[in-house]
């Protein structure tokens, strides 16, 4: 029972919009609901990472020297480039939304492709970094064999590094998949200036992924 056909006594306009689900009073209401849902979901992601940030704070407080020394042993150039890459990708996804609202479908698709490219670049640079860490034995847990920093608590830095960047990279992958679907849909005309909520929600998610990185970067690379 999910057809959008109007029921006796209902407002006749309901049947008109193919995007409108039967249980919503209006498309505006439905879009509001989708946005609220996505914001709530973003709250859950924030709390997921919050735990790791708390762990980082606790152990940084316990092992300040080891953390400072270990963060210097990480590849600052890679982190910086990645930050620029992600911030730019947030820009391009915002541009994509702008272009859809302005009716320029092609420009939007191009922006989305650029976003995807930047996301891939991010993951590529991360892969290079991880390879370097692997060779230096800067690995988490019982694989840690790094001779460079011989202070108590150094393995803890690396455990947190891999946890935080790993979980973040997983979210970049998820974001990429979502953006991939959205790109396909945009290219096939699913969205219009009148209805673009899908790109908006994907954009919101992508902005959060970017925002989390903006907090990770200074903690893991700069201080």
């Amino acid at each position: 029972m999910s057809e959008a056909a109007a029921l006796p006594g209902e407002h006749p306009a309901h049947g008109a919009d193919p995007h409108l689900a039967h249980h919503f009073a209006s498309l505006d209401r439905q879009v509001d609901a989708s946005r609220l849902g996505m914001w709530l979901f973003l709250c859950t992601e924030v709390l997921l990472f919050a735990g790791l940030f708390v762990g980082y704070s606790v152990y940084r407080f316990s092992f300040p020297a080891a953390f400072a020394a270990s963060s210097q042993a990480s590849e600052t150039w890679a982190g910086t480039v990645n930050t620029l890459v992600l911030i730019t990708s947030s820009l391009t996804v915002a541009l994509a939304i702008h272009f859809v609202r302005a009716g320029s479908q092609r420009a939007a698709v191009i922006c989305l492709f650029i976003t995807l490219f930047f996301a891939l670049a991010f993951l590529g640079i991360k892969a290079i970094e991880y390879t370097a860490h692997f060779h230096e034995h800067q690995l988490p847990g019982h694989y840690y064999r790094f001779e460079g920093v011989r202070l108590p608590g150094a393995p803890m830095y690396w455990a947190l590094y891999f946890l935080m960047t790993g979980l973040h990279a997983l979210h970049v992958l998820i974001g990429m998949s979502v953006l991939g679907i959205i790109t396909w849909r945009t290219a096939h005309g699913y969205y219009s200036p009148h209805y673009y909520v899908g790109i908006e929600l994907a954009g919101l998610y992508w902005h959060l992924v970017d925002l989390i990185w903006i907090f990770l970067f200074p903690l893991l690379y700069l201080i």
């Binding site: 029972m1 999910s2 029921l7 006796p8 006594g9 209902e10 689900a21 039967h22 249980h23 919503f24 009073a25 209401r29 439905q30 509001d32 609901a33 609220l36 849902g37 709530l40 979901f41 709250c43 859950t44 992601e45 709390l47 997921l48 919050a50 735990g51 790791l52 708390v54 762990g55 606790v58 152990y59 316990s62 092992f63 988490p140 847990g141 019982h142 694989y143 108590p152 608590g153 393995p155 803890m156 455990a159 947190l160 891999f162 946890l163």
Partner: protein, 549 residues
């Protein structure tokens, strides 16, 4: 274009062709449904199944505890049994039960909507629940973990038993909980029928809203925590390993940051049900509507700041102990406010002592007793003696079984006619309620005394002088088990052979009773336009027809 009252109130005969139960009778029509009512029923079946699984584990434990020494099976099996009892009961029953079964069914009806905001997400939530359940069963079948449902490190990171499937199960079940929470919050914000302002929302919705906030904000933390334990087991990450600089007590902070609000995920929906049942069975407006509504939000908010009361003897600072203690006192006040207002609702009401009301009485006694023992624990000094003894076990069972399960049963009996269009045998209902209340007292009051006497929890063997109280508790548990079994039997019989009922057998003025029982798939022929708050019994107007159109 209302159908006539006589048509709606017809007794007997086959269900209306429009009933959601009759709308598609194939298995696929159920498995692929978007209808919140069908999803609610599927959840009800699933959580009931796991309730009995958890109950079997409990009875196995209590049987062993008849004797102080080794009996029936060994310590390792016992340790696995109490772990599985806890994991099953909490994650597979208590957390999802009232919200996902009754909330799903009734909440859209109560706000005058045709469905929840995201019906497909709702179905996904059910399948995610089943996946989590399957993972838990995988763990059980391979012997299960022996860590306790609390998974304290370093024991949980070093024990060789099958912890990983249970950790994964908890992680996956968390997603189901989060999605349900998101759905309910968005539904409440965006799908209220015209005239249902926030201050006219049924109190059930307020409490479920509070629950949903906790589900959304707290559950990710347990997801992360079990992930960290899993990584430590598999890859030796060392976040909680002292040899690598880690802190095992940090695990406890992470774990309880979710698990304390989690107990409010369990109890707030129970309070939601009680608010509705008290109003209906007293046939009176809720006394202190605003107080009850806001206290749900208060519990949700303050509940996030009290987790340290589980760590009073864990090595936390004295200052923290005091801070968490006093915050726990505040969270208790919100419950006190609700209890007084529920009693106030009964004052000068027109009370009908049906089965749900019997459960309300049990609920009130057990909530006050259990809740106040919680306040006693929050004084810190008393918890030093009671921590990790049977006093704690009795305290949380008073709230989880004595309060929450009583409320679950009240809701089950209250909404049974709504969900299935049939009534159950009232006499058996009261018999079972009495057995359960009696059995519950007999099971858990001895456990308070055992805790006072110094018996620690999770003890396979115990010093001889604890035996008498243990035997008493086991006897009570058997009675309790019988009570639940009787309920199961007469409700299943009623499902198939119970007399069909009218639309509003309780003569309730809750909004969900505006639709037929059982409702059609689309809930309302016409979205109601509400002009007053629910449960207004000032007039003699026949029930079900009090909204102006």
């Amino acid at each position: 274009m209302r159908q006539s009252e006589e048509d709606r109130n017809k007794l007997g005969g086959h269900p209306s062709q429009e009933s959601y139960l009759a709308d598609g009778t194939t298995v696929m029509s159920w498995l692929n449904t978007r209808d919140h009512k069908r999803i609610g029923v599927m959840f009800l079946v699933a959580v009931t199944f796991f309730f009995f699984v958890g109950g079997v584990f409990a009875l196995a434990l209590r049987l062993k505890l008849l004797y102080p020494g080794p009996f029936l099976y060994d310590a390792l099996t016992y340790n696995r049994l109490f772990t599985l009892h806890g994991v099953t009961m909490i994650f597979l029953f208590m957390i999802p039960a009232i919200p996902s079964a009754f909330g799903n069914f009734v909440l859209p009806l109560m706000v005058g909507a045709r469905d929840v905001a995201f019906p497909r997400l709702n179905l996904a939530s059910f399948y995610i629940y089943l996946t989590g359940a399957a993972l838990a069963i995988w763990g059980m079948v391979h012997g299960g973990a022996d860590t306790g449902w609390t998974f304290y490190t370093p024991y949980s990171t070093t024990t060789p038993t099958m912890v990983f499937p249970l950790l994964l199960a908890v992680f996956v079940l968390g997603f189901s909980s989060i999605l349900t929470g998101i759905n309910f919050i968005v539904t409440t914000h965006t799908l209220r029928a015209p005239g249902i302002t926030w201050m006219r929302l049924p109190l059930f919705v307020w409490s479920i809203y509070g629950t949903s906030i906790i589900q959304v904000l707290a559950t990710p933390v347990i997801g992360l925590t079990v992930l960290l334990v899993a990584l430590e087991r598999v890859l030796g990450f060392g976040i909680f390993d002292p040899a690598r600089g880690g802190d095992p007590v940090l695990f406890q902070h992470f774990f309880w940051f979710y698990s304390h609000p989690a107990v409010y995920i369990m109890v707030l929906p129970a309070m939601a049900v009680i608010s509705e049942c008290v109003a209906t069975f007293s046939r009176k407006n809720p006394f202190g509507y605003k107080a009850i509504a806001y206290s749900s939000l208060g519990i949700a908010f303050v509940g996030f700041f009290t987790w340290g009361h589980h760590l009073f003897v864990a090595g936390q600072s004295v200052f923290d102990n005091g801070a968490f203690g006093v915050l726990s006192m505040f969270v208790g006040i919100f419950t006190a406010v609700k209890v007084f207002n529920w009693i106030g609702t009964m004052y000068r009401g027109a009370i009908s002592f049906k089965t749900p009301f019997a459960y309300i009485c049990g609920f009130l006694f057990f909530l006050v007793f259990g809740g106040m023992t919680g306040v006693a624990l929050a004084t810190v000094a008393l918890d030093v003696h009671w921590h990790d003894t049977y006093f704690i076990v009795a305290h949380f069972h008073f709230i989880m079984v004595g309060a929450t399960i009583m409320a679950f049963l009240a809701g089950l009996h209250y909404w049974f006619p709504k969900m299935f269009g049939r009534t159950y045998h009232e006499g058996w209902g009261l018999v079972a309620a009495s057995l359960i209340i009696l059995g519950f007292n007999a099971t858990f009051i001895p456990q308070f005394l055992l805790g006072n006497n110094g018996m620690p929890r999770r003890y396979y063997q115990y010093p001889d002088h604890f035996q008498a109280l243990n035997v008493a508790s086991t006897a009570g548990a058997t009675l309790l088990g019988f009570g639940f079994l009787i309920i199961f039997i007469y409700l299943v019989i009623a499902l198939r052979w119970g007399p069909r009922c009218e639309q509003n057998p309780w003569r309730s003025k809750g909004f969900e009773w505006l639709t037929p029982s059982p409702p059609p798939t689309h809930n309302f022929d016409q979205i109601p336009h509400i002009t007053q708050a629910p449960h207004d019994y000032r007039t003699h107007a026949p029930s079900g027809v009090y909204a102006d159109v």
